[in-house]
């Protein structure tokens, strides 16, 4: 089986700050493999090992995705090789544009049986890239997949639905977004990192791929800080739990919260 895993090289907004004027400052947020994408790698690896096959890492983004650190971080994961679309025109690109680029790369790789993605990216977190990607390819897509079995041409997946789980059978190639707990990712060790530099990497640009033009123009009018409710920030000394509890309950009753 030929399995492509889409991983994102992205910073965590937890470490970003938004200035009073609304500008987002990412300078302290270091990019890394997006939080849940290693789960997708693990799921793909298990399936590939069970069926005999190859796992190819695929990412798209501005030049930084092809930096030595980024390559090493990706290839020390359990990929066999990687395809990296590094192009500054992708700085700040939306889900649809990214998915179009990823779809073109999947076609470029050729004969792909399955694309597995993470649940959501740490920075954007829209959960839309996998489904738009499937749309671009005309393939079936399933999100919140917790298990995959089968082989090329036909897979069986388990996925969450409201109030339970479902098992689906899918024929032909498909895009699957892994649930956050579909597998437990293995942390790369020193030997994995050393081996990373020996794995093949193909670097592509958007122009080389031939990506369809967007059908709409998006103009950012501005960004701002969300209007947060002012919080009291009152700390209650909890060395004596009973006294602290009494104080808290009194305060909450006072404001009508209880």
């Amino acid at each position: 089986m030929k399995i492509v895993v889409a991983y994102k090289w992205a910073p965590n907004p937890q470490d970003a700050t938004v200035g009073a004027a609304g500008a987002v400052d990412w300078s302290r947020a270091k990019p890394a493999i997006s939080e849940y994408d290693p789960v997708a790698v693990e799921l793909a690896r298990e399936l590939a090992d069970a069926t005999g096959g190859e796992v190819i890492g695929l990412t798209a983004g501005a030049k930084g995705v092809d930096a030595t650190m980024a390559r090493k971080a990706a290839l020390s994961r359990r990929f066999d090789r990687a395809v990296i679309v590094a192009d500054d025109s992708l700085q700040g690109a939306g889900s649809t544009e990214l998915a179009a680029v990823l779809a073109a790369a999947v076609r470029h790789i050729g004969d792909v049986d399955l694309v597995i993605t993470g649940d959501s990216s740490v920075d954007v977190g829209g959960k839309m890239v996998p489904t738009v990607l499937a749309g671009q390819l005309g393939w079936p897509a399933v999100a919140e997949v917790s298990a995959v079995t089968g082989g090329a041409g036909s897979v069986r997946v388990e996925r969450a639905i409201a109030g339970g789980t479902q098992v689906l059978e899918i024929s032909g190639p498909a895009v699957l977004a892994a649930s956050t707990d579909a597998a437990v990712p293995r942390l790369p060790g020193m030997k994995d990192i050393l081996a990373a530099t020996k794995k093949p990497v193909q670097t592509l640009t958007v122009a080389e791929l031939g990506v369809p033009a967007t059908g709409s123009t998006v103009t950012v009018k501005g960004t701002s800080r969300p209007d947060l409710k002012a919080r009291k920030g009152q700390m209650i000394d909890a060395k004596d739990p009973a006294a602290a509890a009494a104080e808290l309950v009194a305060a909450l009753r006072g404001t009508g919260a209880l």
């Binding site: 700050t17 200035g19 400052d25 300078s27 302290r28 270091k30 890394a32 030595t68 650190m69 090493k72 971080a73 942390l187 790369p188 060790g189 020193m190 030997k191 990192i193 050393l194 530099t197």
Partner: protein, 439 residues
């Protein structure tokens, strides 16, 4: 040297810790063509590092000639301000000198930016940088002259090398594990709490009376630590301010105080708060600081291993300046030289590595450590942190408070303040004498 049954070396040198000391060591060795791996537990170099931020940069410029132009330095320090802080008064010595700008003597840096830059320089020089890996222990074997370090282990993986460099910071468990450094007594350790407050650059320049890329470094003692041994600092970056306190651990334990409470007290102190007004905290953290001076330095070499930077105990707290980064650079340079000659002489035993020790103690870093050898015990004296500041404050209050009473001679005012103060003349004399000798 190597016998056939030994596994092959993966690298000439393994450096553990991509702080300043580790990066400088790795960079210089790679430049000379040695194969080097630099292992860092943080996901990205710099992510775990916190530092006050004044770097005395001449040493760095010798390693990287274009350091000031290329590296992410914040401001060039031309204004040093020493401040005795009391609850209601503040007395300062303001030393501004444009000569400090040319040649540049000190710059402010943010480790979150500097460390990644250093790691990148290492990459360019051919170092294999390996972030996201925590070294669990060193590999040793018994040799003719005792234990010899042959590599490191992390998780299930082992890497072997002719020399291991312990550059893993003040808590260096590696140096402790192999018995190079005893566990430090509390009075050799301090805890640093620091935050970075972002403000527009014009605001910083106006508040601190700076122009262009000039910077200010404030050293604060007295009420800022609520009487705990230690001090506070305020350093200006381009568009943020680094502010923190360094507190002696033994004193905190003895007085049962929490570092964060003292830090909050400092930040909200009426003489500190105005500098930070309107700013936003963008980084916050605690870190250990070695304070023991010369006493902290343990053995820095053994067969197959050297220890550099904070891991070797190379920090100086003179009361006015915290220095560690420049010493980390100096030790990295000395270690790289010592290791290079050991590798070319094919003797990486303690004897073969002796060049490191010699060069380190011949350098300004080693000399300074000796010069300030007594500073820590001088700084242990309680009076430094509380009583002197109040005493001077009361003297000046007497002089400047025009309370419709006839003026007195300053000596009389001073004497009156003195009588109220717990400081006795003999303290003044003995501390003054100790201080002159220590600083």
């Amino acid at each position: 040297m190597s016998d056939a049954s030994e596994p092959e070396n993966d690298f000439d040198v393994v450096v553990v810790g991509a702080g300043i000391a580790g990066c400088v060591t790795a960079f210089q060795l790679a430049q000379q063509g040695h194969s080097v791996v630099l292992i860092e537990r943080g996901e990205a170099p710099g992510s775990k590092n916190l530092s006050g931020g004044v770097l005395y940069c001449r040493g760095m410029q010798e390693v990287f000639p274009d350091f000031l132009q290329e590296a992410p330095v914040e401001r060039r320090v031309t204004r040093n301000y020493i401040n005795f802080l009391n609850a209601e008064s503040s007395i300062g010595i303001d030393y501004k000198d444009t000569r400090l700008a040319d040649p540049v003597n000190a710059v402010t840096v943010l480790r979150a930016k500097l460390d990644p830059w250093l790691a990148e320089k290492c990459e360019e020089a051919g170092v294999f940088v390996m972030p996201g890996v925590r070294v669990d222990r060193v590999l040793t074997k018994d040799g003719p002259t005792g234990k010899r370090v042959v590599g490191v282990k992390a998780g299930d993986d082992e890497l072997r090398a002719s020399v291991v460099v312990a550059a893993d910071g003040v808590n260096s468990f590696i140096a402790q594990e192999v018995g190079l450094r005893p566990k430090q007594p509390l009075n050799h350790l301090a805890t640093g709490v620091k935050c970075v407050v972002s403000l527009p650059r014009e605001t910083i320049e106006a508040r601190f009376n700076l122009t262009g890329d000039e910077g200010a470094a404030f050293a604060v003692v007295g009420d800022c630590t609520e009487g705990i041994g230690g001090g506070g600092f305020i350093y200006t970056n381009t568009d943020s301010i680094s502010v923190g306190v360094v507190l002696r651990l033994d004193d905190m334990v003895a007085k049962n105080k929490s570092a964060t409470d003292i830090f909050d007290h400092f930040l909200t102190h009426q003489f500190v708060a105005p500098y930070l007004d309107g700013g936003e905290i963008t980084e916050y953290g605690c870190h250990m600081v070695a304070e023991g001076g010369m006493d902290m330095i343990g053995d820095i070499d053994m067969d197959g291993m050297v220890v550099v930077g904070d891991a070797a105990g190379l920090t100086l707290n003179t009361g006015l300046t915290v220095r560690g980064m420049d010493l980390a650079v100096a030790s990295g340079v000395a270690a790289a030289a010592g290791i290079a000659s050991a590798l070319s002489g094919k003797d990486t035993s303690k004897v073969g590595l002796a060049g490191y020790r010699e060069q380190l103690f011949a350098s300004f870093a080693g000399q300074d450590m000796k010069t300030y050898a007594k500073a820590p015990s001088f700084l242990e004296v309680q009076r430094m942190y509380k009583d002197y500041g109040e005493l001077i404050g009361n003297v000046l209050y007497g002089a400047f408070n025009l309370d419709n009473q006839p003026r007195q001679h300053l000596a009389k005012v001073a004497l009156k303040a003195f009588k109220k103060s717990p400081v006795k003349i003999r303290h003044l004399i003995s501390d003054g004498f100790a201080g002159v000798r220590a600083l």
